[in-house]
Each structure stands twice: as C-alpha cells, then as structure tokens.
Symmetry: D2
C-alpha cells in the first residue's frame, strides 16, 4: 500500500487540477475537495437545483457522482496527475433519505495497486453520523 | 415470477406518468421509454450537453441514472403506479467507452417480489452489440 | 439507527445459538465469533484443509462465507434470534493475497432497518493492517 | 470483443485442465463444465453434503463458488491456459430459494479485455426458468 506515504498533491493542487481539466465536475464549483490525506479524501457536494430531486434532497445519480469523484480525487492526490484513471466498477447502497441540502463524502482507499485502485466512500448529511449511502468502487490505472 | 403476466401499464401510460410525476428525470425528455414488456423495459437517453463529458460521450453518472430509471420503469410498468419504490442497491460495471451520442438501456427484471425487485440493465450505443456498461440493481417496494 | 443501543445477545449466547442452529457454519468450530458490539462483530476463520487453496491461503468462497456470516452475526447479536434473516446481496472486492492461515473479519452495520440491514466487512490476515478483502452486504429481515 | 471468435479450448481440454490444476474445485467432480462456447460457459454443481445447508439446498458460499468458477472457465476456454487470472470483484444477488439438489450456472462474458474480463452468471435449479441467483464478476488478467 505504498507504505501509507502521504499524498503527492496538495489540496490546492487537486482543486486547481479539477477546475482546469474537469470542468464538467466542477461547474460553478458544485464538487469541492475539502481535504486530502494519505489514501483518503473528503468532498462536499453543494446542493444546487440540478442535483436535487423533489423534496430538496440530493438525487441518486448525484450521490453516485459524488462517490465516484471522491474516489478519483483520493487516487489523484496520492499518485499525481500522471495517469487517466477510469472507473470500472461502482457498487452503491442507499441507506436512508438524506436531509435536504449538501452532502459530504468521506473516501478511503483500500488498495492502491499498479493497475487497480479500490476504495470505499461514505456519504453523510452534514452533522449527521449515520451515512445516507455507502459505495465501493474500482478504478483502472493505465500503464505509464 | 408472478406468472410472467404482462405489464399493467402501457408505454403511453408510463411516459405520461413519468412526465407528470418525475419532471426531474424527464426534463426536455432526455429519458425516453421506448418499450415496456413482461418484466422488461427499453429506454433511450438522448444525449444533451448536461449528460456529456469531454469527447461527447455520456458520463458515468448519466449512465447510472439511465440504468436506475430503466429499472424503475420496468417495475412501474409491471406493478402500476401504486407504490413509491426506491433504489436500495445499484452495482455498475463500465465495460468500454461509448460512442459519442445517445445510449440505449435494455432492462430485464430477475425478481419481482412483494418487498424487493431485482433487475439487470445493459447499456448500448445504438447499433452496437457490445454493451458499454452493465448494471444490477435492487428496488425496495413499500407495503401497500 | 436504533440509537446505537448495545447488542441484545452476549458473545456466549451468539456462539451457543450458532453451534446449535447452524451446524454447517460451525462444524468443528471453524467460524468463531470473537466479539460483538453495538452494530458490530468480529469473527475468526480458523484455517482448515477445506477452506484452503493451493499455497495454504483461504479460498475466495471461504472469504465470502466469512464475510456473510460476520454480517449475520452482527445482525443477530443486535436484534436477537427472533427472525430468519437471509442474504439478498453481497458484493466483495478481493484486494491482495492473504497470508497463509487464519483470517479475521471486522463487520460494521451501516443500517439496521425493519426490513433491510446493510453492513460492510473488512477481512484481514492476523497482524496485518491492510485488508485482503472487503465486502458489503444486505440481509432481508422477515416481518415479525 | 475479439470478434466473438470461438473458444480456444474444447470442453474436454477445460475439464482436464481443471482436474489436473485445480483439484480443490473438482474434488470428486462436484463442479462439472457442461459446455463452453464463444464468451460463454455452462456448469453444473452436483449437490453433495458439503455444499448443502439444512433443507438440502445449495448454500450461499457454494453458489458464490459456482458463479466464480463459471466465470473462470468461460475466460479460460476463451484465452487458453496461459495466464493466472484472479477474481477482483464479485457481486451476487440471491433471488429465491433453490430447489433441493443440483444447480446450473450459465455464464456470459460481457467484456474480455487485455487486463480485465467481466461477466455475468445466472444460477438455476435444473428445469426452472427463474434464476435463484445472479452474479456479476471481474477477473484481472496478468500481463503475458
């Protein structure tokens, strides 16, 4: 597990990279990287009209997107912007209805191999300890 | 499997129900129900700016949304608009990069129980036999 | 989440229940419940011939069984031996080759509802912090 | 998808390979390859004491094992015994209680890439059209 060495990109570097190269996941800054750490990342999805379903809660596809991008950010911060990793599998369990408003994703990498990275992500309504959803996903990392 | 009896809602009834009650999944008619059958449904996601990633292909979250709604439609057509089913689990494998443009979802229910419905969905670029993604999902059906 | 109240069965009660009612998962005591806590359980799979693959490591199906029974035990300890819960979904990621010998499962319930319980399980070789596998599973809890 | 070209190993060759190199999955011939085809395989799990749970139905871990080995066989038949593929992910939905006795697995590969193979497997009680379980799995194929 790369000896749990720290991330090679700082929070500012990750955010700058996302804004420049992934405008689609940062349009108006809906997806905000709050922290990166060793094999981990925390993100916020700022609730805006296009992510909501009736009732004002974040929709399933937006929860999927938040989990997916949190995994991507955790990998990116750890290995640097050298490779174009792609999601190969994502499994998500929806656990309870979120409160209206923003969502937070806590991601932890379970494996960071040369070819595959696997991580888990818990999604929370801010201030609530019970997760609203939990995802596990795999990214394929292309050869350098 | 409930005697494989046919769906209780017609294609027109399903589309009318979606447009009226789920404006968020049919804004401008991006998600179009093309066919419903016994324990099955076929949907089209019409490519529009908000579903695309750079390169013009449908994004992962939009593929998730397409698979999820195809499952919902297959259940809805079979049991009618009587219950508010919710997704509890969705597992998706991304298999190959789609061609730029629309995507088609073919959904087949594997189980339609009183409390849980499980189905699988294959996503295709129109005219191509190799799926670009494959999902399996579970809906919880509330008590009547 | 039931206010995180403690389990209703003690470790001894859970083990006695398993030995009496589930001889198939406790033949010769391969699967040992080491601890139960609030929404959690820890189990040990004692390596024996029938669980091994060439090389002396625990096989994939036995890792599946360990994750599955750890989830069952965490639910059982929390709600008591009142209902016959059944697995409806289990998703497992194999992360790295385990060391030869025993395996430990750490299970944590993410949701314990009236109809569905969802939890995650990490599998470890004793003394190693990097998980060899990670599973997420759902049990259906029948009506009382 | 390798142009849907046929398998490179015959049924007899696959069975001989399994018996010789994987005694643990063919002890007394519980797992029998019934057919291999282009990107597909059909297997039988012959019910024997060790695979049963009370009631005489095949246990969950044995269903997992059957799905896993069916995927392995479909890959093996297609690419030959050249590489040591390993399971990286398996997601299984248990749909209904099987009838007591044997189980059949029908496997279909969804993707056979250079590094990853993905397939789906439906498990049936012989003579029954409704699947008792459905799995989706990924194998990692090592570099040649």
């Amino acid at each position: 597990m790369a000896l749990q060495s720290g991330p090679v990109m700082s929070l500012d570097e990750v955010n700058a990279f996302l804004v420049r190269d992934f405008p689609q996941i940062a349009p108006g800054r809906d997806f905000i990287v709050e922290a990166v750490g060793p094999l981990s990342a925390r993100m916020l999805l700022a609730a805006s009209e296009k992510h909501l379903r009736p009732g004002g809660t974040i929709s399933g596809p937006s929860m999927f997107a938040l989990a997916d991008v949190a995994l991507y950010v955790a990998i990116l911060a750890q290995i640097g912007p050298v490779a174009l990793a792609v999601t190969t599998n994502l499994n998500i369990n929806f656990l309870r209805r979120p409160a209206p408003g923003d969502l937070i994703a806590e991601c932890r990498l379970l494996k960071l191999g040369k070819r595959l990275a696997v991580g888990e992500v818990s999604l929370f309504s801010p201030g609530d300890d019970d997760p609203v959803a939990h995802a596990t996903g795999t990214y394929s990392i292309p050869p350098v």
